[in-house]
């Protein structure tokens, strides 16, 4: 490929829902993703609850760039580029811990956990003191843009990035379902980290809107009685929604009010009370009046969520779990999956234990849903790397008629109270929306 005109054709095809198969394993497009997408968009790095105490830190990457996400000794959360100002050594080589200072292993330059340079060996003898190298004002490079939403921390490598809240847009409405179930918000554990030989976009698309795969890919989960929902009939009654920079899937709930429906998926009464206190009337209406419960979702470009409610051991009762996951690109055909377990911080201890076990059974490195997904994605990626994949346009037009009219009309504001566009049934609207944004970023040349 390479020629600009060829790429324009790729993006045109993507926008009409005919996906050139090679985009899932293409080195040139990956280089373009690095330059134009991941150097600009807001990407998730950590959740505040991973660094609860002053001095706590985790080290996270935005593709090739390492950042120390630290809560400094004054309690302020920062994202510091993990590179010593002197010779460029990676300053912090642990992935988590608690530290008041970071000292470079190469020549011993030391920094406070807020990034300020505080010491360098032989400052007077080697530099003539502050005359030669003034310590004050020297600090590790902060992330160009750094912001949070409900404790989710994001970095953008673009110093002129639009504010995070504007970037997320109306997807915030749906993010709250996963990340705000009490005033205290989430606590997360993990992540489990593992590498898969698959392109990062596949998982992002799958979580964004692929209700169609659930009954088939995950049939074994229903076969063994772990999950009562993903039968074909149940799944297609759900709605997909897309709003702002994200979208997701839902399940249709049986008749009832808000409390009954929250209880149906396994929330105990005390959690329902806390949830009611923090969700807006419109958010409660999506569940209580419209009868939809959030399931999987993706926030562009590579952050996904899942909320499911498998059965408890030896019982027909179900219990929800929440997982947050990052599809961290390694190359055009390899992704590091980072998968966190998340639970409301105010949830009862037994609920947290059961929810954690439910997560491990279903998602993550050992999760039984996840196993079958990844098998497919690896296979898809491998096949997309060949010459024939350049001749194949994958049909991603589900839900559209030949004249681009929808097969099923969008839900009205009265039948779906959330923002954005929502519709019932199998469709690939969200996958098209996600790849449409992808095409927008890749086509926009640098400022």
């Amino acid at each position: 490929m390479g020629a600009v005109t060829d790429q324009r054709e790729v993006f045109e095809n993507v926008r009409r829902g005919m996906i050139p198969a090679h985009i899932y394993n293409d080195a040139e497009l990956f280089a373009l993703e690095k330059e134009r997408l991941f150097a600009r968009a807001w990407t998730f790095v950590a959740h505040e609850s991973e660094i609860p105490r002053d001095g706590d830190y985790v080290v996270r990457r935005v593709l090739d760039d390492s950042f120390i996400i630290t809560r400094d000794s004054a309690g302020e959360i920062r994202a510091l580029f993990n590179m010593c100002l002197h010779r460029g050594m990676q300053l912090c080589r642990a992935e988590l811990g608690n530290a008041s200072n970071f000292r470079c292993p190469y020549h011993g330059w030391s920094y406070r956990n807020d990034g300020r340079l505080i010491g360098l060996p032989f400052h007077r003898e080697a530099y003539g003191g502050d005359d030669g190298l003034a310590r004050s004002g020297q600090a590790l490079l902060p992330a160009p843009s750094f912001a949070g939403y409900n404790g989710l921390l994001f970095v953008s490598l673009d110093a002129h990035a639009e504010p995070l809240e504007d970037f997320l847009g109306d997807f915030r409405f749906y993010l709250d379902f996963y990340t705000k179930q009490s005033t205290g918000g989430l606590e997360v554990r993990g992540p489990q980290r593992w590498r898969i030989r698959a392109n990062w976009k596949i998982g992002a698309e799958n979580f964004a809107g692929d209700m169609y795969h659930t009954p088939h890919t995950h049939a074994s989960i229903v076969d063994i009685g772990l999950f009562r929902e993903p039968t074909a009939q149940k799944r297609k009654d759900g709605a997909t929604y897309w709003a702002g920079r994200g979208g997701g899937t839902t399940y249709k709930l049986p008749p009832g009010g808000f409390d009954e429906r929250m209880s149906y998926v396994g929330y105990p009464d005390e959690m329902i009370d806390r949830i009611k206190a923090v969700w807006t009337p419109r958010q409660r209406q999506v569940v209580g009046e419209d009868g939809f419960m959030i399931s999987a979702a993706t926030c562009f470009p590579n952050l996904s969520f899942v909320h499911n409610w498998p059965k408890l051991p030896g019982s027909n009762a179900v219990l929800p779990f929440i997982s947050i996951r990052l599809w961290q690109p390694i190359s055009e055909n390899e992704t590091e999956v980072c998968s966190w377990f998340a639970v409301d911080s105010a949830a009862p201890p037994q609920y947290k234990r059961d929810s954690y076990k439910a997560y491990l059974m279903c998602f993550g490195s050992t999760g039984m849903f996840e196993q079958d997904d990844v098998e497919n994605w690896v296979s898809l990626t491998t096949t997309a790397g060949g010459a024939m994949a350049r001749r194949l346009l994958l049909n991603s037009r589900m839900g559209l008629l030949g004249n681009d009219r929808p097969v099923v009309e969008a839900l009205t504001a009265e039948s779906f109270h959330g923002p954005g566009r929502a519709q019932v049934g199998y469709n690939e609207y969200n996958q098209r929306a996600l790849l449409g944004l992808w095409a927008d970023y890749l086509e926009a040349a640098g400022a």
């Binding site: 080589r93 642990a94 992935e95 988590l96 811990g97 530290a99 554990r189 993990g190 992540p191 489990q192 980290r193 593992w194 590498r195 898969i196 030989r197 698959a198 088939h216 890919t217 995950h218 049939a219 074994s220 989960i221 076969d223 063994i224 772990l226 051991p313 030896g314 590091e336 377990f341 954690y356 076990k357 491990l360 059974m361 993550g364 490195s365 050992t366 999760g367 039984m368 996840e370 196993q371 079958d372 990844v374 098998e375 497919n376 690896v378 491998t382």
Partner: protein
């Protein structure tokens, strides 16, 4: 430091044989037979390893594991393989569990002849299909074997992965 039983101690030989027999069952994916080698109260855990400073005092992710299993959850995982829809192992992986560095310790209580502590090192080699590279997991294991029903059974296993980021597409197989 605790002293391992001599290699010619009958208890060590029995523990070693248990692990080698088990490796065969796991290679052959004879999971029903494998479940039968576990006690009903088995605990099977594999913490997430993390990179921390030498003085940090911990090297696993607080509260997070890859496996945190009991007999019920392991049975569910095995039951899934018996369905026609467990795509990740259909076609099945070619597996080889290499077990070495086996050391056996008597329990703390010298009167307790019903428990053995066994350490081992394991390398799992896994190959799928004909295109993708094979994958490996290297780990240490700390097991508790219990004598019951006239044979040794696995009562507890802690799997200590040697990687913080696993280079295997999933852990649909056991270690």
């Amino acid at each position: 430091m605790r002293k391992a039983l001599p290699f010619n101690d009958a208890r060590h030989l029995e523990a070693h044989q248990f692990l080698v027999d088990e490796a065969y069952l796991l290679d052959a994916q004879q999971y029903d037979a494998w479940l039968d080698t576990l006690t009903d109260d088995v605990r099977y855990v594999m913490p997430v390893r993390v990179t921390t400073a030498r003085g940090a005092g911990f090297d696993t992710s607080p509260g997070m594991a890859h496996f945190d299993e009991d007999k019920y959850s392991l049975s569910q995982r095995v039951a899934r393989f018996a369905t026609e829809h467990a795509w990740t192992e259909d076609p099945p992986s070619r597996l080889r569990h290499f077990v070495t560095n086996v050391r056996t310790f008597a329990g703390d209580d010298p009167e307790d002849r019903a428990h053995l502590l066994v350490q081992s090192a394991e390398l799992l080699f896994r190959s799928r299909g004909d295109v993708n590279e094979s994958a490996q997991v290297s780990c240490g294991r700390e097991d508790v074997l219990r004598w019951c029903d006239d044979r040794w059974k696995l009562a507890r296993r802690s799997i200590i992965a040697d990687e913080s980021v696993l280079r295997m597409q999933n852990l649909a197989v056991f270690l």
